[in-house]
Symmetry: C2
Subunit: 450 residues, 2 copies
Amino acid sequence: MNPRSERVDALCRSLPRLDWCVSSAELKRKSLDYYWFSPVLRRQLEGKLADAIVRPRNADELREIVAGCVRENVPLTMRGAGTGNYGQAIPLEGGVVIDMTACDQLRWLEQGVVRAQAGIKLGLLNELLAPHGWELRCMPSTYRMATLGGLFCGGFGGIGSITYGPLGCPGTVLGAQVMTVEAEPRILELRSPEVMQHAHTYGTNGIILELELALAPANDWHEYLLAFPAAEAAFACGQRVAHTPGLIKRETAVFAPAVATYFKKLAPHLGESEHPVIVVINSSNREALETLVAAADGRIAWHQSAALAKSTQHTLLEYCWNHTTLHALRSDRSLTYLQTTYEYGREREQLAAIDERAGGEVMNHLEFIRDETGRLICSGLPLVRFTTENRLQELIALHRDCGIRVKDPHVYTLEEGRHHGAMTPAGWDAKRRFDPGGLLNPGKLRIRTG
Amino acid sequence: MNPRSERVDALCRSLPRLDWCVSSAELKRKSLDYYWFSPVLRRQLEGKLADAIVRPRNADELREIVAGCVRENVPLTMRGAGTGNYGQAIPLEGGVVIDMTACDQLRWLEQGVVRAQAGIKLGLLNELLAPHGWELRCMPSTYRMATLGGLFCGGFGGIGSITYGPLGCPGTVLGAQVMTVEAEPRILELRSPEVMQHAHTYGTNGIILELELALAPANDWHEYLLAFPAAEAAFACGQRVAHTPGLIKRETAVFAPAVATYFKKLAPHLGESEHPVIVVINSSNREALETLVAAADGRIAWHQSAALAKSTQHTLLEYCWNHTTLHALRSDRSLTYLQTTYEYGREREQLAAIDERAGGEVMNHLEFIRDETGRLICSGLPLVRFTTENRLQELIALHRDCGIRVKDPHVYTLEEGRHHGAMTPAGWDAKRRFDPGGLLNPGKLRIRTG
């Protein structure tokens, strides 16, 4: 037993009423996330393990744990459902992983605004909102498991971002309750925009207890799998759906035919050379969609209502965003992926350039989202056939050479992953204020604090 | 009595049970619309008058009138509330004006889609929709009086178009019931996109009986009058509000300080040199708006909820779109206006160029709308100090010279007003199919039919 595990042991013993878990299977499961999407992170994060997992049932228990960690000088790492992809929830220097999933209460819902605890699952939250005529504006494809706090701290948006943009756009996250990591932890109420200093920081600059979000009106969604004879037609129709303001949209994704071969349940509905597009729109838009699809020589290959999807537990939403990657990796572990953003108006040209220069290795997967200026741009999660880390870097360079922006999903530090290589001064201020001792997952920030 | 009025007289006598009106005051009132916004149209359309007005109470009565007009070879002109601006409802060659305002039934409402008769007032329709959680996606500022059929045949959108685009965008108008002008009038059911051949044709290619529209979820709107120290800041904040996808918007308009001097009830809330912006957004967006306004050195000069606006009958919506023009013209009949569209990304530069070259004569009024590609562009309804028709044409040319598109609101034919100088072949097909005798307001199309 090393000195740190001894200190964790002392901490466990000092707080015996808490829901601790030290079984080695659970320790391993709850120390990891979807980092295995990246062969680079698989190598780098291999064997990283918490000394203990604790699952606080309320803010008081959480406060005891945090105070204890500070007292014992033990690192602590925040965790939702662990559906993130960059090792966000993996404790780099052991210590205690705090599993927030028991803090899952909906606090209040009023005039299209909800307040809930960070550990609530997004799918459950949506089910609680639905009878009141509301739903989340955006959520990841992992919404069944993923938590609200996880979305805020490690996510981006995804489904719904075609209309409401990323979660970080002003007007969606309204406030948060955040706990400091101090000998006597304080709970502070933050409002937007200050609260956004804590977004997408992997839980390294404070502990999110509650979040307050503006909602979207609930829609009667219908899911369509479309098929087109050519890449141009598929893209053009997807873009037209995305662009047209009269179509109420939740999701529009365009895939290379090769990607769809990994969609076991959908592949039988598609011809081998057909280019699939997934569209989720309001029920009233059926005829308008049919017109757009026919104009692009496409067809509706498969269709269902969201209500039916709910009853069968089979939804097209779970073929989009990183679920696309998940389907592919389940079939073929030699695959990995990139995160790309194409230049507005040059998407087809950039995609064609990649096809020409790395067609065998890169399989396109596009997602339409609204950017901060309201423009419908293309984000991508192309599948990549992995050979070596060097070749992966070459492919990233190739994308950049074509004018495509790449957010490298094969890095695990906060600065490299999301913050363009460096934290902002305001980000550092928040870090110093909420985690003065630098105990939140040390190593996750390249520059050490505390 | 000329031969035509004799034929109209015979028609009235042949259908005595109908709701005819031949009193000269009513004839005059119901032969006109808001054409008087234009001094050019005032001159051109002076004295145009119907021989009789009839107000059908249902489709059967309408059919009798139409059959009678065909039998007697009498022109007929369709009319909603007469809130259009291009003499759309003014009978150029007399005959019968058909006032549709008694055909005002809501047929059905289901899953966010409404079917209603053309004569229903938009304000009333919204009130009927509200208890079910729905509202119109877009409507003119004249919604209290304006009819659904009038919006479809002569309107564009307006309030709400910042989110849903113009009414004509695919996905909003789903279907229509249209009557032919024939000896035995037929009623045809059209679906989109075919139905769009009848949009914005001033009722010259068929008689709209019913419309089917996709709706928007009802929102808890709040109305803000913002004030900024400089034009750049006002525009930047208005644009930021328009662009940000996390703000749920119904209206964003930016005005020159001079325009606001015509807003009698609002002027006391504004400093003389302050640049006003009207924003109508969801209640949950208050804090996000406050942040954007503060960042642009602005202030919230006045604010109310839509619920309060409803009870006081004083709403900021009735300072936007052509209500801006109406307020100005009520104060000063020497004013008129233009309809402009600025180039995306060059708006400030183009506005500054007009300010520099015609600052004393042109007062800016911008409206943000979403175009068919989903981009937030600026449409304008600048006030113009009218001197001569020649000078008005020079000012139009000046705008075009600065790269600003102008839809000339000082013309009354369909082709000049809306159809880029010529009808499309599909438009002509619809005209020939629904009005083979060319009886619908002859003269409204430059090229004669029938």
